[in-house]
């Protein structure tokens, strides 16, 4: 273990190297590019024995990973925003084909209009595609989570997105403890055989047209139909609710650092108001909780580390009998509300001790989110709660309404 000052992108690349990825494909996009620049350098210099495929688009980046992963290789790519959107077809394909690909999504705002700065609209817009989605609070968590992601993916044969905020983390240097290759090797064995067999001696047709109903194979054994395969995929994805904490515990054993598995919590024990978010906002919210406590408000912070599968039980457990959960989303389900806020409401619906759940939209397109903005949003929410507001439309933090024509 050595401590080095590095950016979030360096931390991600370092984890991929430590994980001994065998095939890396990538297309440049800000703010992701430094991840694959670093990896390509290591491959060219012989420090990382992997195939690096410099493709002509993000669609092809994930396609290369799909091909490589199908025949059993450990595959990695990274992207952001429009690059992620361009991959969308293949995001679904990778999950449906049950390929344990790991992809870093360096969160960036979606165009139009163009904007290269941070929010989380990109990864949130593919939350339903059947991948595990993990969000990181700081550079150390990026390194640890990216390494853990390979273990999670390969254990359940479901791909994993490691999401972290563009620039706020990707380009910000922090001290990061880098485990030794031996420590990571002990944690992460080589990938076991893939689900699908690609062998000349045992020819199979992988991923053909699949009828809705189960159907007998040539030996008379009943095989699942499309709907059964989808249910099996979902069941495997849900296994991540156990596997993500288990892998985090194994990582803790190997390198001595844990991230709590599905959620992270701060000053939660006696909290009446719980501030909820994913990503680097969570680090800010720990400071906001301290500020509010200094003002006499019993506040705590709850970070969603695993957003898909959604950790509904863990959230119900942490939020029962609180007065208020205030969710800060850096994304919006347009025409509805913030994605985390909506999911949380559904998870808490009708439970005993259900808190009020309010949503706030913040930081779109890299809008600076200050601690004071976050704290004031919490104070406003408490006023609304005291006024008896049960359902509140999402509040837009720091919106300059005077400029909107």
């Amino acid at each position: 273990m050595t401590t080095r000052l590095m950016t979030g992108n360096d931390a991600a690349a370092t984890a991929v190297k430590l994980a001994r990825a065998q095939v890396i494909a990538a297309y440049p996009i800000t703010p992701q590019s430094p991840v694959v620049e670093q990896l390509s350098r290591w491959v060219e210099e012989g420090e990382l024995p992997a195939e690096f495929v410099a493709v002509e688009s993000e669609h092809s980046a994930l396609s290369v990973c799909i091909g490589a992963s199908t025949v059993g290789a450990r595959a990695f790519t990274a992207t952001s925003a429009n690059g992620l959107a361009y991959m969308t077809e293949q995001i679904w394909w990778a999950a449906g084909a049950r390929l344990p690909i790991v992809m870093c999504v360096v969160n960036r705002a979606m165009a139009a209009p163009w904007n290269v700065l941070n929010d989380q609209q990109d990864s949130m817009s593919v939350r339903d595609a059947g991948w595990v989605q993990l969000y990181c609070r700081d550079d150390q968590e990026i390194l640890d989570t990216t390494a853990q992601a390979f273990r999670v993916a390969e254990r359940i044969n479901v791909p994993v997105m490691v999401c972290y905020d563009g620039f706020l983390l990707s380009h910000t240097m922090m001290p990061v403890d880098v485990p030794s290759p031996a420590e990571v090797d002990a944690f992460l064995p080589p990938r076991t055989a893939p689900l699908q067999i690609v062998e000349v001696s045992d020819p199979r047709n992988v991923g053909p047209v699949t009828p809705a109903d189960p159907r007998e194979d040539a030996d008379g054994a009943l095989q699942p139909g499309y709907m059964e395969l989808r249910a099996m995929h979902n069941a495997s994805l849900l296994q991540a609710l156990e596997v993500v904490p288990a892998v985090d515990a194994e990582w803790s054993e190997a390198v001595g650092r844990s991230w709590g598995g599905l959620v992270g919590e701060y000053l939660l024990d006696d909290a009446e108001i719980v501030l909820v978010a994913a990503g680097s906002l969570v680090t800010q919210l720990t400071l906001v909780a301290e500020t509010l406590r200094a003002e006499g408000v019993r506040a705590g912070a709850l970070g969603i580390r695993c957003y898909r599968p959604f950790p509904a039980d863990a959230l119900r457990d942490r939020l029962a009998s609180r007065a208020l959960a205030l969710v800060y989303d850096k994304a919006l389900s347009y025409g509805n509300e913030g994605p985390i806020c909506g999911d949380l409401k559904a998870a808490l619906y009708s439970m005993d001790g259900e808190p009020a759940v309010y949503g706030a939209i913040c930081g779109l397109g890299g809008r600076d989110v200050t601690l004071e903005h976050l704290a004031q949003a919490a104070r406003d929410a408490l006023s609304d709660l005291e006024a008896g507001v049960a359902h509140r439309a999402p509040v837009w933090i720091d919106l300059a309404e005077g400029s909107m024509r």
């Binding site: 065998q22 195939e51 495929v53 396609s63 290369v64 025949v71 290789a73 293949q90 020819p203 047709n205």
Partner: protein
């Protein structure tokens, strides 16, 4: 040139597959799989070939087969190849990407261009039935002028893209044009491609009874007529050297005029009602290409 009697009797394309009666693809695929002796992995997007393969959990092809997304044939194949190499398995099988003309000339072009520029190590076969036949005969970038499709009801106005020429512009080492009605021409070209490295591109015209509207018993006849009229030309470009092959080479050597294109048009329902003016334009397009190929032809020896 290999003779039909010399082909292996091992069949990798099984009977009872779901291809339409008279499908040219089946003839070509049979020759391709024989040339690779089954030591291959097929990478294939949505296309007639997918339909030919049958529905899960039963397959009509006795070789490993990976289905991939429509635009991703070449990039997925590049990934399969990279994965096999990373796992030291590349000696086990040839990676054969195979897509239709829509999957190649249109939606698959970007990924194919990227793979060609990188000279990724696999064989790409475009089987060209000259429209989106699997989805009901919509026009593609490879549909010939004059052909009626379900999106060109009065006949397509434009000539088809010349995909082999596009591939040649990428500077890859082996490019071939063939026709499924000439299985030994297909076989020999796949055999040659198999023993080379880098991206190898084979464009295989496949007559399509349902899409072109002709009697399924006439598939081979139509394929031969396509070559005899010069609509399809059999050739290969090996390390930049262009050579007519098989029947096209014989036709060029004979010095006799080609069969008029009108005969080819009259044999297919899709060209019914083509105006004399359009027919003349198609004839001059064919003549100009034939003259160009003839001028480039480098006889063997």
């Amino acid at each position: 040139m290999t003779r039909v009697s010399e082909l292996s009797t091992t069949e990798y394309l099984l009977s009872g597959n779901r291809a339409c009666a008279g499908c040219g693809l089946g003839i070509g695929l049979r020759a391709i799989t024989k040339a690779l002796d089954g030591k291959m992995v097929l990478v294939n997007p949505a296309s007639c070939l997918t339909v030919l393969g049958g529905m899960y959990p039963i397959s009509s092809l006795d070789v490993p087969w990976i289905n991939v997304a429509f635009p991703s044939t070449a990039s997925s194949a590049a990934g399969v190849r990279a994965g096999l190499r990373a796992m030291r398995r590349e000696g086990e099988m040839t990676v054969l990407a195979m897509a239709g003309d829509g999957g190649t000339a249109d939606i698959g072009m970007q990924a194919l261009s990227g793979a060609a520029e990188r000279d990724d190590d696999f064989i790409y076969v475009c089987y060209d039935n000259e429209a989106y036949m699997n989805t009901g005969t919509q026009r593609s970038g490879s549909t010939p002028a004059g052909a009626r499709t379900t999106t060109t009801w009065t006949g397509k106005r434009e000539n088809p893209k010349d995909v082999p020429a596009i591939m040649e512009a990428h500077g890859i080492g082996y490019i071939a044009s063939t026709n499924a009605a000439f299985p030994t021409d297909v076989y020999d070209k796949v055999l040659k491609a198999r023993d080379r490295r880098g991206l190898r591109y084979i464009h295989m015209n496949t007559p399509c009874p349902s899409g072109w509207s002709f009697d399924p018993k006439d598939t081979v006849k139509l394929g031969r007529l396509a070559v005899d009229t010069g609509v399809v030309v059999l050739y290969e470009i090996e390390d930049g050297v262009f050579r007519l092959t098989g029947r096209s080479a014989s036709l060029a050597k004979s010095g006799k005029p080609l069969v008029p294109v009108a005969e080819y048009l009259a044999a297919q329902g899709r060209f019914r009602g083509v105006s004399d003016e359009t027919a003349a334009e198609i004839q001059s397009w064919v003549d100009a290409r034939w003259a160009g190929y003839g001028a480039r032809h480098t006889p063997v020896g």
